[in-house]
């Protein structure tokens, strides 16, 4: 091989001409890489990190009924964590989170399983999946409020039950109750469970199911030994979605419980409406820490990297 045909030999033959040009090219390439990363970095910085920093800063401020005082005091945290109301509210929010998580997980898995394994044609799969998203064509609030004429004292369900003679008087716990809150949340959030699980199930090699059958597995054994373990990452992602959504929810709790139940986010909103921003900020930091811990715990249990 000759020296001219050997690319690494070129800079040595022309040391002064090519080296600065190469450096410039390398700089150009790294600048291009930074430019490509810039939009997302700017958006995350301006709309996530900066507000978060603000909230953390404000949570240490002092306040009275009319004003905020930039300061560094721990009173907000002490009041938040020292109050029995906070603990009860957190407990109530966790209760919603657990019940809604279990229900959305069970329903979401079965819907996704049906879509992925029982609907054979890809067109039908896509059509049915889009049908699942139809409720999202209306706003959150409308979907929630539309439960009121269904569940109300003189609503569809109660009228039907009374007319059919199943119950003597309208059932009171259908609306403005924990039942109503959970029902609305399951309705709102199940799709967040269906989508990631469906995605995971679609990636399962169908040959694995055949291999399991070849090894003598029954349908139930295929489900418990092959499909469920492999669906875990999707379940984990869905769980993160649902848990964070429920933990941050205030409007569903307020509307569907008729103001009789509280959640952490609702408590924060009330504090904000009383202009107690530092207290709300401290509450937000605590909630954020708890949710991040929950997510970290989920990620420890299930490896979701394969899905990303």
């Amino acid at each position: 091989m000759t020296a001219a045909a050997n690319p690494p030999a070129l800079p040595m033959s022309e040391p002064d001409g090519t080296l600065p040009a190469r450096r410039l090219a390398r700089f150009g390439r790294s600048a291009a890489a930074y430019l490509q990363a810039a939009p997302l970095a700017l958006i995350l910085g301006a709309f996530l990190l900066a507000p978060l920093a603000m909230i953390v800063a404000v949570s240490f401020w002092d306040y009275d009924f009319a004003r905020l005082y930039p300061d560094f005091v721990l009173t907000n945290y002490i009041e938040t964590l020292g109050s029995a109301v906070t603990w009860r509210t957190y407990l109530n929010t966790f209760k919603y989170a657990v019940i809604v998580w279990v229900l959305t997980l069970v329903i979401g898995f079965w819907v996704a399983y049906f879509l992925a394994f029982h609907v054979r044609s890809q067109t039908m799969q896509m059509v049915l999946f889009l049908v699942c998203t139809v409720p999202f064509l209306t706003s959150n609030i409308i979907r929630m409020i539309s439960w009121i004429p269904v569940l109300g004292r003189n609503g569809l369900v109660n009228t039907a039950l009374v007319d059919l003679g199943i119950v003597p008087a309208p059932v009171e716990w259908l609306l403005y109750s924990d039942f109503a809150v959970v029902l609305a949340m399951v309705h709102l959030y199940t799709l967040f469970m269906v989508t990631p699980i469906f995605n995971t199930l679609m990636r399962i090699d169908r040959a694995l199911v055949e291999a399991a059958r070849d090894a003598g597995a029954s349908s139930l054994q295929v489900l418990t030994n092959v499909i469920l373990p492999l669906a875990k990452p999707g379940m984990a992602i869905g769980t993160i979605f649902v848990v964070t959504l429920v933990m941050a929810d205030f409007i569903t709790v307020q509307v569907m419980s008729g103001g009789q139940s509280a959640s952490v986010a609702l408590m924060m909103r009330n504090q904000m409406s009383l202009l107690q921003y530092p207290a709300a900020a401290a509450n937000a930091v605590v909630l954020l820490a708890i949710v991040l811990l929950l997510v970290a715990a989920i990620l420890r249990v299930v490896d979701i990297r394969k899905e990303l």
């Binding site: 694995l208 291999a211 059958r213 090894a215």
Partner: protein, 362 residues
């Protein structure tokens, strides 16, 4: 180990909607033999294997394994075990649990099934990797694990769907030898689907050449090689030149045909139907460069391509009426009197190296 079972396929048909993938094929695979289903992609070989395994329903006909009709039995109750093309190892289980999977399904205790899985891993020399996940193994290692998983059910027949196609050429040859050794030591029936002639020749006791859902020839490798049943088999196996022409004359040994182009070619054997066009086949490796010893046993064509293959040289020659005629001559013969691309080269062969082919099934 377990007793090998013969596989008897009786006019089995597979219909998908309006297309027929397998047309009433019948085949007897003797117990303890190594059978290769060979054919181009889409010829129905994998479907046939999957019907034997029970992963594909049988539209018509019956499959018998040993003395038992297994047509409507689920895969696990047929006494067969399948090794999948992509190995289909469970990614969430380690190697031992993958191998022990069928025992777990049967409810065998954890200690017992791990012990038996380790025994099986020893058979395929994979016990050092027992605790790894499939993703941490190379292709060849995954294949051994898949083999161990298939064998732990103690099958009477092992069904392998293109087991070597995912491996690199070097490993392919190595694993091929191991499959053969394993089959010999276990003594069970192996049915192996492949599209590689070389693989089938190297492994099989019985080669089944399939095309468009039909069996073209089912015979021992030597017979498939030396006496391909028809033009498809001859072309697919690649060791013969096929020449087609009308019958010109007969003699006591065979026939002389006249393809388009005005030449005459002689071949041994009896044509199936003298009224139709007759296919004859000429062994590529018996063709030499030189004048023909008798009329009808050679022609002169223009060299189109020359491939040096080490111990031999492959020439592609075209003459009037004969395209892509392949001649494989030894390197010594070639370099004694070399020809170049574009030269006119006389080719010749002996009478016994040209044979009459049967009609194409269809």
């Amino acid at each position: 180990m377990s007793k090998a079972a013969a596989i008897d396929i009786a006019s089995v048909t597979k219909v998908y909607g309006s297309t027929t993938a397998v047309h009433a094929i019948s085949l007897k695979i003797p117990a303890g033999s190594y059978c290769c289903l060979l054919g181009p992609s889409g010829c129905g070989k994998s479907t046939t294997l999957r019907m034997i395994a029970g992963h594909e329903s049988i539209s018509d006909g019956d499959v018998r394994l040993g003395n038992q009709v297994v047509t409507d039995l689920p895969p696990a109750r047929r006494g067969t075990s399948m090794m999948f093309q992509s190995y289909a190892l469970f990614p969430h289980l380690d190697v031992t649990d993958n191998v022990a999977f069928s025992l777990k399904m049967k409810g065998v205790g954890k200690q017992e099934r791990r012990r038996r899985a380790l025994d099986m891993l020893e058979l395929v020399h994979m016990e050092p990797y027992a605790a790894r996940r499939p993703a941490q193994l190379s292709g060849g290692q995954q294949q051994r694990v898949a083999l161990a998983r298939a064998l732990i059910t103690d099958p009477q027949a092992l069904l392998l769907d293109e087991p070597l196609s995912a491996l690199d050429p070097f490993l392919k040859v190595k694993m091929r030898a191991e499959l053969k050794r394993l089959q010999a030591s276990l003594g069970i029936t192996f049915v192996h689907v492949t599209h590689s002639q070389e693989e089938a020749m190297a492994l099989a006791d019985l080669i089944v050449v399939m095309n468009a859902g039909r069996i073209e020839q089912a015979a021992a490798p030597r017979r498939v090689f030396e006496q391909p049943a028809n033009a498809f088999v001859a072309r697919f196996m690649g060791d013969h030149n096929v020449i087609t022409g009308r019958l010109s004359s007969r003699d006591e040994r065979g026939v002389t045909i006249a393809p388009a182009g005005g030449r005459l070619f002689s071949a041994d054997g009896t044509p199936p139907d003298a009224d139709e066009a007759i296919d004859i086949a000429v062994r590529t490796d018996r063709v030499r460069i030189g004048p023909a010893s008798a009329p009808g046993l050679g022609f002169t064509g223009v060299v189109q391509n020359i491939e040096y293959r080490g111990s031999s040289v492959k020439l592609t020659v075209a003459g009037a009426g004969v395209d892509d005629f392949t001649a494989i001559v030894s390197d010594a013969d070639f370099f004694a009197a070399p020809v170049k691309v574009g030269d006119a080269a006389p080719l010749a062969w002996n009478r016994e190296d040209a044979i009459v082919l049967g009609r194409l099934a269809s």
